[in-house]
């Protein structure tokens, strides 16, 4: 999916920097979070000092007032810690939600605008992952990991300074815990990050077998594969246990030692500090405070350790997201694009050749023809003969590789895309129903259409009676969570949908293939009128010869070339290919599956 991009080869870390720059929009939230973070660190650093004060000046000197003061200040510290802690994490989370929102909008609008050639090579599921999972990774990084790392570093540094000022010898003993723990954690993550990925992967594999057995249960039973499948599953299940145990061993070999380390340093502090207390250079309060600081040092180290893999993940996620955001839109308006406002009906293909991006052979080779106003053109050919490709070039879903496509003498590339496409009505070969009502589906391109208008086109598409027969009529919910429609019914919705656009050129790409014969004839009759009234030119791509018999002219395609044109009768007598197609259709026609 990385074929073209305005930012070639940006590394994961560069992408992460771009994410950070996008925080600028939310600078106030960010500043709020960072200020809270600093205040929180200060409040944290003060707490042990309160212990010291309470013990040395209060308890040791038997001054109850100071004891109570120190406790009172501690309550204040508790309140401010709570508030700053909340501010730090809430504002960071809020900013991260904002960035995720912006990124999602950007990537979505990019996806919506990327040309057909891009979508031919991209998989829906992959794009989906980028908009959902990858952006979520980035968001987690901004909302959690980033703040964790910053606050950990700030805490570490400030605590280090405080304890160095208190007692530099003791501080040095205490700080040995930092490099040692850091080393242990680094070892743990570098050695085992693959292992943790492996557990996820193996669980995925195991679930894949489970799912296959769910979907393919009939096949499994019919082929008496139960035992073999159970064996396969058991093997994967055992492998998962083994890998999981490896991760457990890795945990066992790291974290107990980290805790041991901190415990031993505590002892060292007590030993050295205790000796100094005995020698009179140090107070008990200071010793207790020191111990409290020790706890504050360990937590940031662990946080940084756990944030590190999340940051690496976020960086590669950011790279994947920007790959889409930066992708080049192949087909866009020329600088002086003019609006398309209607046509007389002279459509010219002049030596048009076309090759799909990434393909090795040309889909169209030197195709030339010209239509007359109000002509009904049928395009016929075998699968992959290039007939649909011709239709893709007219609304500029793709641009020609060589030659030109002109409407009334104007190259289609001179028109603005929006105006051009809004005047070309297309019925695609395959119909997508959107989740929503039938009315919304028909009014897909013209959301302001009145119910009367919707009904009118539904009638033309022979769909009205069926819809009225449904309990909810035009308000019937269809699509993924709604009523299922048959292929033929879907195609009729698609025809109605297209009839409701402001078309002056009409393209019907094999659009009655799934409709049963009788209805196809009815639709044809209704369409004939409409086509002649409103469209300046109509193209019908079809497999069935019955659908094309009343065309003014038939273009016969074979392997990307235009090999013949004329009326049905003319082609019958001149083209052997035409005769062959006719015959093969009779043989291969899907029979006896009445349309539902």
């Amino acid at each position: 999916m990385s074929q073209h991009s305005d930012h070639p080869d940006s590394s994961p870390m560069q992408s992460l920097l771009r994410v950070l720059k996008s925080l600028v929009v939310y600078r106030w939230l960010l500043i709020g979070s960072l200020v809270s973070l600093l205040c929180l660190t200060a409040a944290n650093a003060v707490t042990p000092q309160l212990f010291r004060w309470g013990i040395d000046e209060g308890i040791t000197k038997k001054d109850l007032q100071i004891v109570l003061y120190s406790a009172g200040v501690l309550v204040l510290a508790a309140i401010s810690r709570g508030l700053f802690n909340f501010g730090q994490s809430f504002w960071a989370e809020a900013a991260s939600q904002g960035v995720a929102y912006d990124l999602r909008n950007r990537i979505f609008s990019k996806i919506q605008n990327l040309s057909f050639s891009y979508h031919d090579q991209a998989q829906t599921s992959q794009l989906l992952t980028r908009v959902t999972n990858d952006i979520e990774q980035i968001r987690t990084f901004l909302g959690t990991s980033l703040v964790q790392v910053i606050s950990s570093v700030v805490t570490l540094v400030s605590i280090a300074v405080v304890i160095l000022l208190m007692n530099w010898r003791l501080a040095l003993i205490t700080l040995t815990v930092v490099p040692m723990t850091g080393w242990l954690l680094a070892q743990f993550f570098t050695k085992n990050s693959r292992l943790f990925g492996q557990v996820q992967e193996q669980l995925g594999n195991l679930n894949a077998v489970l799912q296959e057995n769910l979907i393919g249960i009939r096949v499994v039973k019919a082929f008496v594969r139960e035992d073999a499948e159970a064996e396969r599953y058991t093997a994967l299940n055992n492998a998962l246990v083994e890998t999981s145990m490896k991760t457990i061993r890795a945990i066992r070999n790291t974290f107990p030692f980290i805790f041991l380390l901190s415990n031993l340093v505590t002892l060292a502090v007590f030993g050295y500090g205790g000796a100094e207390v005995i020698g009179g250079q140090f107070s008990i309060g200071e010793l207790v405070a020191f111990n409290a600081y020790l706890l504050l040092i360990l937590q940031p180290l662990l946080l940084i350790g756990f944030a590190a893999p999340a940051i690496a993940q976020a960086a590669s996620s950011a790279q994947r997201v920007y790959e889409v955001v930066d992708a080049t839109i192949d087909i866009r308006d020329r600088p002086n694009a003019i609006p398309f406002s209607g046509c007389v009906g002279r459509i010219t293909f002049e030596h048009v050749s076309f090759r799909y991006p990434g393909a090795t052979t040309e889909a169209l080779k030197e195709v030339s023809f010209e239509t007359k106003p109000k002509e009904l053109i049928a395009v016929l050919g075998m699968t992959a003969s290039g007939k649909s490709t011709i239709m893709n070039l007219l609304p500029r879903f793709y641009d020609v590789t060589a030659g030109s496509v002109r409407i009334d003498g104007r190259d289609v590339r001179d028109f603005s895309l929006k105006s051009l496409r809004s005047h070309i009505g297309i019925v695609f070969q395959e119909t997508t129903l959107f989740s929503g009502t039938l009315r919304e589906n028909i009014a897909y391109a013209n959301t302001n259409a009145s119910l009367e208008q919707v009904m009118e086109v539904a009638k033309a598409a022979q769909m009205h009676d069926f819809i009225m027969g449904l309990p909810d009529g035009y308000e019937t919910i269809v699509g993924e969570r709604g009523v299922g429609l048959s292929g033929g019914q879907k195609q009729r919705v698609a025809i109605a949908r297209t009839l409701l656009t402001n078309y002056s050129i009409l393209i019907l790409d094999d659009s009655t293939s799934a409709v049963d014969a009788q209805t196809a004839v009815q639709i044809q009759a209704a369409l004939d009128d409409l086509m002649r009234q409103k469209a300046c030119t109509t193209f019908v791509v079809a497999q069935r010869i019955s659908t094309v018999q009343n065309a003014d002219r038939i273009l016969l395609m074979d392997k990307g070339r235009l090999v013949g044109q004329g009326t049905h009768t003319e082609l019958m007598s001149t083209s052997p290919l035409y005769g062959a197609i006719l015959e093969s259709q009779v043989k291969q026609a899907p029979a006896l599956t009445p349309s539902r």
Binding site: I55, I59, L64, V67, L68, R81, F86, A94, A100, Y101, N105, I111, Q112, T124, L128, V131, L203, L210, E212, L214, G216, V220, K221, A222, F223, V224, R225, A230, T234, V241, M245, I248, N253, F255, P256, L260, N263, G274, I278, I284, L287, N291, A292, A384, F428, Y444, A445, G479, E480, R497, A517, R544, I545, H568, L582, K587, A589, P590, L592, R596
Partner: protein, 596 residues
């Protein structure tokens, strides 16, 4: 529901949770010996952690205050030994608990798989089954996450919390009671926050669901969006959902961001209480500085266990919901496999007999109403009729996926209920419409019904199925790894491989559900000749969608509403002028409506 009342509903819910828990606990049975050992290690580990602050506090009063440097060193060395032996217990605990949990989870996964294989097919046809299945993988993951690696940590923290509480009460009852007041407060706060968060997260789950649905729809229909100039509108609609999701998340995050600060606040409050009251006791001589110090150290250790336990609590909750569904599945009645006196099916000649067969998937709805048919060895039977007429049911009964409600299905005169399923199914081959393949190599997929097949046998089958050439053209040939459900092969290629799969077991009876979806012309031709070869000399039942298939059949059965409406050869049925002749005529007008 309202009449039951909320009290009873929650009581039922609680009962359900208890029975889920009891069921879950049964999985611990095999580890009767290991569990006490693991728990002992956990207790030792927790005790070594709890004893530290006590001894350190004690040392302040009894060693440091007396200026006993040697005593101090002795005490610290003692503690060091304690910590070092503690680490042995902690490491053992991580390994033991981890190993128990991993094996336990593997057992649950294994039980799920075995159950799925033993469920009757009727289960998979039930509507609520789909829902259960779609959540199953997710449930397995959730349970794995909650009980996989964190249990040891959770147990350790739970016990150290208990240890700390006990130690505090033992050192100084009054101070202990005061500072332990905070524990129930923390638990209460945790419960409060988790119920707030639940309601907020319900909203975020809904908004993210809507957002994902919109995304999926709009990405997969991006071509329509561009052709119908819907891009801008889609972007605006997406923006609304995106913003709603962001706002819901910010609201939820406000709760989660407040949670830890609140716990931390309570914790610091307790610390202040210890300082104030402990200080008061110390000043009045009722306690020593060392006791106060111990308490300060202990109180600071509340925070982490509570934090970890609350995390575990949320995870465990969703895991229990998952377990509940898993147990629901495990409680489904299994399929009755073979009759007690079932014998091996002798080698099949190929005569299939239906004697007045009636059948219903549910007792009150008959799908087959007295079907009689005889297929002689080597005959091809075409089943024709609308969807839902009972064609698939006839096939399900031949394979004994279901047992008849009345009448009998006999093969070579043997009632299929009297033989073992495996011996019967091994001699019947199937090629289904959706061509389900499995992850694994191409060779493994062909050898699906005969895992011990030699490479030569596999290649011979592939040659028969016209797919050998294609396979050898792949870079890895027969060793090419296929992904889930046969990705990335095309529909046609998958069909060829599933034909080879059926060829390899050399069945006497073959069942073919013809594909309706169109595949490219070249592959179509390969499929047709492969199928013709496959059908030769075998008794075959074909759910036919193609005219060419039907005309070749020895018998055509027109199934309508669970009964055989017409029966004969193609020519005979045309002669008859009934339903079949009508269908045929309609099809012919569609292809022949042009004057040839």
């Amino acid at each position: 529901m309202r009449s039951i009342g909320p009290g009873i509903v929650s009581e039922q819910k609680a009962q359900k949770q208890i029975s889920t828990l009891r069921r879950f606990l049964q999985y611990f049975r095999p580890f009767r010996v290991e569990i006490p050992i693991a728990l002992m290690l956990v207790s030792i580990g927790a005790a070594t952690q709890a004893v530290g602050p006590f001894l350190l506090g004690w040392s302040i009063d009894h060693v440091i205050a007396k200026g006993d440097v040697r005593g101090l060193l002795l005490l610290l060395s003692l503690l060091a030994i304690l910590y070092l032996s503690g680490i042995w217990a902690i490491r053992g605990q991580i390994l033991r608990v981890g190993s128990i949990m991993q094996r336990l989870l593997a057992q649950i996964r294994q039980d799920i798989f075995v159950k799925i294989q033993s469920l009757p097919l009727s289960f998979f046809d039930r509507s609520e089954a789909g829902d259960l299945m779609s959540r199953l993988l997710n449930d397995v993951n959730t349970v794995n996450q909650a009980f996989g690696q964190t249990v040891a940590q959770m147990l350790g923290n739970l016990l150290s919390l208990v240890g700390i509480v006990i130690a505090m009460l033992a050192i100084n009852l009054q101070l202990g009671l005061l500072s332990n007041l905070v524990v129930p407060l923390m638990i209460f706060t945790t419960g409060l926050f988790s119920s707030w968060a639940r309601t907020r997260f319900r909203v975020t789950r809904q908004t993210i669901g809507e957002l994902s649905a919109k995304l999926e729809e709009d990405i997969s229909s991006v071509r329509e969006a561009q052709a119908f100039n819907r891009v801008q509108l889609n972007i605006e609609e997406f923006d609304l959902l995106n913003a709603a999701n962001r706002d819901a998340n910010v609201q939820a995050v406000a709760i989660t961001s407040a949670f830890l600060p609140s716990i931390d606040f309570l914790n610091t409050l307790a610390t202040a209480g210890v300082l104030a009251y402990g200080g008061y006791l110390a000043v009045t001589g009722a306690a020593t500085v060392g006791v106060v110090t111990s308490f300060l150290l202990y109180v600071q250790q509340f925070f982490r266990p509570i934090q970890i336990l609350s995390q575990f609590y949320t995870q465990a909750q969703s895991a229990f919901a998952g377990l509940e569904r898993i147990f629901l599945l495990l409680d489904e009645p299994s399929e009755l496999k073979d009759a007690a006196n079932a014998v091996e099916m002798p080698p099949i000649q190929g005569e299939v007999l239906f004697e007045a067969v009636t059948f219903g998937y549910t007792p009150d709805q008959q799908v087959l109403k007295g079907v009689n048919l005889v297929a002689h060895p080597g005959q091809m039977i075409a089943l024709v009729g609308p969807t839902g007429a009972g064609k698939s049911t006839i096939i399900n009964l031949i394979l004994r996926f279901y047992d008849v409600s009345g009448g009998a299905v006999k093969i070579d005169g043997v009632d299929v209920r009297g033989v073992t399923q495996a011996s019967l199914r091994r001699q019947i081959g199937i090629v289904l419409q959706d061509n389900i393949l499995f992850s694994g190599t191409v060779a493994e997929n062909i050898a699906f019904g005969m895992p011990r097949a030699t490479q030569a046998e596999i290649e011979a089958a592939a040659q028969m199925a016209n797919v050998h050439e294609f396979i050898t053209s792949l870079p890895q040939g027969y060793a090419t790894q296929l992904g889930e459900r046969g990705a990335p092969l095309s529909q046609g290629q998958r069909q060829l491989i599933s034909i080879a799969r059926a060829v390899l077991i050399n069945p006497r009876i073959l069942i073919l559900d013809e594909a309706t979806s169109s595949i490219d012309t070249r592959t179509e031709a390969l499929v047709q000749t492969a199928i013709a070869r496959l059908l030769k000399n075998r008794t075959s039942f074909v759910i036919a969608h193609r005219l060419s298939t039907v005309t070749q059949a020895d018998q055509v059965l027109v199934i309508q509403q669970g009964a055989i409406a017409e029966h004969g050869t193609h020519a005979e049925l045309i002669e008859q002028g009934g339903v079949y002749a009508n269908l045929y005529a309609l099809q012919m007008t569609a292809t022949h409506s042009v004057p040839v």
